[in-house]
């Protein structure tokens, strides 16, 4: 208030020019943001809202029409469905074991690739290969490897004189689930390796030298130095892999079709079956919504961890 009368005419002019320019700039910024906003809201928000609406109706056909409103009964039905608890169990087991194995293997391989190896570029490109394969191809590949009649795994075990009796790797429910996990770990460890490798390269060699001078052995240096400094990379890769593993669908579709005896059905696969094979779109939407909420909860937990500076190094 007090400074306003003191302003000179040129200053006022400049300010007006700025205001006009700012308005245009804001509009321009808004126009630039609009396509992204449309994509985000069209591809993310709209389907999420629509799925929620569909989940409140007894929609049993993909075609438009009027379907009875059933409120939350599709959701209550989920919890009364005996198959649901089995598929949730498979999903949690798959998520925990595959993410855990990928993390441990990923750190080990990344440490190896960070070491001064000869032709390091070659090993690094080799490691990325499984990740470059489409999941469908990976699934088909492992389905052949595990085949109980002419599969490569049984062949290898026979050649190595480990076992001459062919094993049915995908023949019993629990074993099949574990073998699918192995196929998933083989493919997805690559991405963990690259995240961890990127993290390792930010750690200064001086720190290791200082630790060595202080008398720390390799294991102590790894535990006290490498692991805490890798925490941000581990946190990021954990977020990505857990959420991906929780949504697993395609590798199951190709390798086992959910069998044997539904032992490899996961929540996403079961949702697909209900929605598309059985045309229970209302029920499928309720299941899909529960997946969205679970993934959202997982993401929230991880983001909270990420925000904690100690874990993520992010202030």
């Amino acid at each position: 208030m007090s400074s306003a009368p003191a302003q000179t005419a040129p200053a006022k002019k400049a300010r007006r020019r700025l205001r006009v320019g700012g308005k245009g700039e804001a509009r321009f910024a808004f126009m630039l943001l609009l396509p992204a906003a449309l994509v985000v809201f069209g591809v993310v928000l709209y389907p999420v809202a629509r799925t929620f609406v569909v989940s409140l109706f007894n929609v049993d056909s993909p075609l438009p029409g009027s379907y009875p409103f059933v409120g939350i009964s599709n959701y209550t039905r989920v919890f009364h469905d005996p198959s649901f608890y089995a598929v949730v169990g498979h999903t949690f087991y798959f998520t925990l074991v595959s993410t855990g194995a990928e993390l441990v293997l990923g750190i080990a391989v990344a440490l190896l690739l960070n070491a001064p190896l000869r032709a390091r570029w070659f090993w690094r490109s080799l490691v990325v290969l499984p990740w470059a394969l489409p999941t469908i191809v990976n699934g088909a590949l492992w389905r052949w490897i595990y085949n109980g009649q002419y599969g490569a795994l049984n062949g290898l075990l026979a050649v190595l004189h480990v076992s001459s009796t062919p094993q049915q790797w995908l023949g019993s429910p629990f074993l099949a689930l574990n073998m699918v996990i192995v196929a998933d770990v083989w493919k997805n460890t690559s991405i963990v390796v690259f995240f961890i490798l990127a993290g390792l390269q930010t750690i200064s060699p001086d720190l290791y030298e200082a630790a060595r001078i202080d008398g720390a052995g390799a294991w102590a240096a790894f535990r006290k130095l490498t692991l805490p400094l890798l925490a941000p990379s581990i946190a990021v890769v954990l977020v990505l892999r857990t959420i991906e593993a929780f949504k697993v669908f395609d590798i199951i579709y190709v390798m086992t079709g959910g069998g044997p005896a539904s032992g490899t059905q996961t929540v996403a696969f079961y949702t697909y079956l209900q929605a598309f094979s059985n045309q229970l779109f209302g029920y499928g939407a309720a299941l899909a919504y529960l997946i969205v909420l679970s993934v959202f909860a997982l993401a929230m937990v991880y983001l909270r961890i990420l925000r904690q500076g100690q874990m993520a190094g992010v202030q």
Binding site: S61, G148, Y150
Partner: protein, 443 residues
């Protein structure tokens, strides 16, 4: 930073959109789009139209048993030659993807013609995914086509397509293996004979697992089970439409299947195999007997794809106490209910299912027309198969024609596998399946 931030509001020029404003605008747009969509089903058109009988049509068919991709392309190109004002785009998918792709594409009316399995008319017809073509079906077709073919696209006295692939599962056996183990091929006439032959073949070391089946958790498993259920005199549903597979022949069929695994005469990979896996194992000489669709005869006898060519014999499905009905595995071409070019689509369907076209490609899939089986030209294409087909196609068993078939089939697949893997007794597994199927049948 702080002082600057404090002075910013008074210095701000123009209405810079805040994060909240952008979110609100975006949210509003999203909600507007949401409100713009009517109904809670899928989007897209709510009905089809006949169209002008010209233009381009899109067709969804199967790249698996029956007509080969090459056959279908040749048929289509000759159709286009005869109908130059219609252009056809073909999409071929695996059988396992056919149903779900048809459902997903239905709201948009992507496909004008779709290939439907015998188990889908109830579902697709009642849900208006395929068009009711009863009024276009000439009455004469009912007499001119084989009974199993007429039943294929039919539900509740309505026709939802025209039969195109007429198939059932036959018993294939390796004559060289049988001769080596001194097994009389006449034994292949009954399931008891097959089991006893399998034991002899195993004992003589000709094949470690003489039988191989498509018992993966998929529809293929239900096809094999249906064949055995029929042979043991069982029924899927009783006269009142309630599950009956957990009684009599239904249970005996499953016990037979499980026992064959326990005895080591059925290959343990069967529970992870589809029809193509069965064909590979049989063609590699690693099985002596197998149940499969007609297409295996040509491929197993082709020296380029088989190590047992020249030794493959095809027979009717063996008989049991309840007879020898073969599973009806036929398929029909249907016009999509949402197609805007139904007239052109119908022309394509009637051309591909016509007798001259089917007769020409009889070597891949046998015609649906009765008189074709008396035509020397058709018989000549595949004498061994035609001889068996003439007998078998007159005696077929249908899987339940109900609109929730897929859900019931999934329950049955899981429970049959539980019994095959020894996790449940056959009776218990089928009782559990019947309990869940009863709920599904009334929902």
């Amino acid at each position: 930073m702080e002082p600057n931030a404090a002075t910013q509001p008074s210095d701000r020029v123009g209405p810079t959109p805040t994060r909240r404003a952008v979110l609100a605008t975006g949210g509003g747009l999203g909600m507007a789009m949401f409100l713009a969509a009517c109904g809670v089903g899928g989007g897209g058109s709510a009905g089809g139209g006949a169209g002008s009988g010209k233009g381009s049509i899109r067709v969804l068919v199967m790249k698996q048993a029956g007509y080969s991709e090459d056959d279908i392309r040749k048929m289509t190109s000759s159709f286009q030659g005869a109908n130059p004002d219609i252009t056809v785009t073909l999409d071929l998918v695996a059988y396992e993807a056919l149903h779900d792709k048809t459902v997903a594409a239905a709201p948009a009316g992507t496909y004008d013609v779709v290939l439907i399995d015998v188990i889908w008319p109830a579902e697709f017809g009642t849900k208006r995914i395929v068009a009711d073509v009863s009024s276009k079906w000439p009455a004469s077709w009912k007499q001119q086509m084989l009974g199993g073919a007429v039943a294929t696209p039919q539900y509740a006295s309505h026709f939802y397509g025209v039969p195109w692939i007429l198939d059932t599962k036959y018993l294939f056996f390796n004559t060289a293996h049988l001769a080596k183990a001194k097994v009389d091929p006449a034994q292949m006439d009954t399931w008891d004979g097959v089991l006893s032959a399998a034991r002899t073949l195993k004992a003589s070391g000709v094949t470690k697992y003489p039988l191989v089946w498509s018992w993966q958790q998929a529809e293929a498993l239900i096809c094999d089970y249906a064949t055995l259920l029929g042979a043991f005199g069982g029924k899927f549903l009783d006269a009142a439409g309630k599950p009956a597979f957990n009684q009599g022949g239904g249970v005996q069929a499953l016990e037979f299947m499980h026992q064959s695994i326990v005895d080591g005469v059925s290959n343990p990979t069967s529970t992870q195999s589809l029809e193509e896996d069965v064909r590979r194992v049989f063609s590699a000489g690693q099985a002596s007997m197998a149940l499969n669709w007609t297409y295996m005869y040509g491929m197993a006898n082709d020296p380029k794809q088989s190590q047992v060519s020249g030794h493959v014999e095809i027979g009717q499905t063996p008989s049991g106490p309840g007879g020898r009905p073969g599973v009806n595995g036929s398929m029909a071409l249907a016009v999509s209910a949402n197609s805007q070019k139904q007239a052109a689509a119908w022309k394509y369907v009637t051309y591909l299912t016509s007798q001259p076209v089917q007769d020409k490609y009889a070597v891949s899939s046998l015609p649906v027309w009765k008189s074709s089986y008396e035509d020397p030209a058709v018989i000549k294409t595949n004498p061994a198969v035609v001889a068996q087909a003439k007998k078998q196609l007159a005696d077929l068993i249908l899987r339940p024609q109900v609109k929730n078939y897929n859900a019931i089939s999934q329950v049955l697949q899981t429970e049959i596998q539980n019994a095959l893997l020894g996790k449940k007794a056959a009776q218990q597994a089928l009782n559990d399946a019947a309990d869940r199927a009863s709920t599904l049948l009334v929902s």
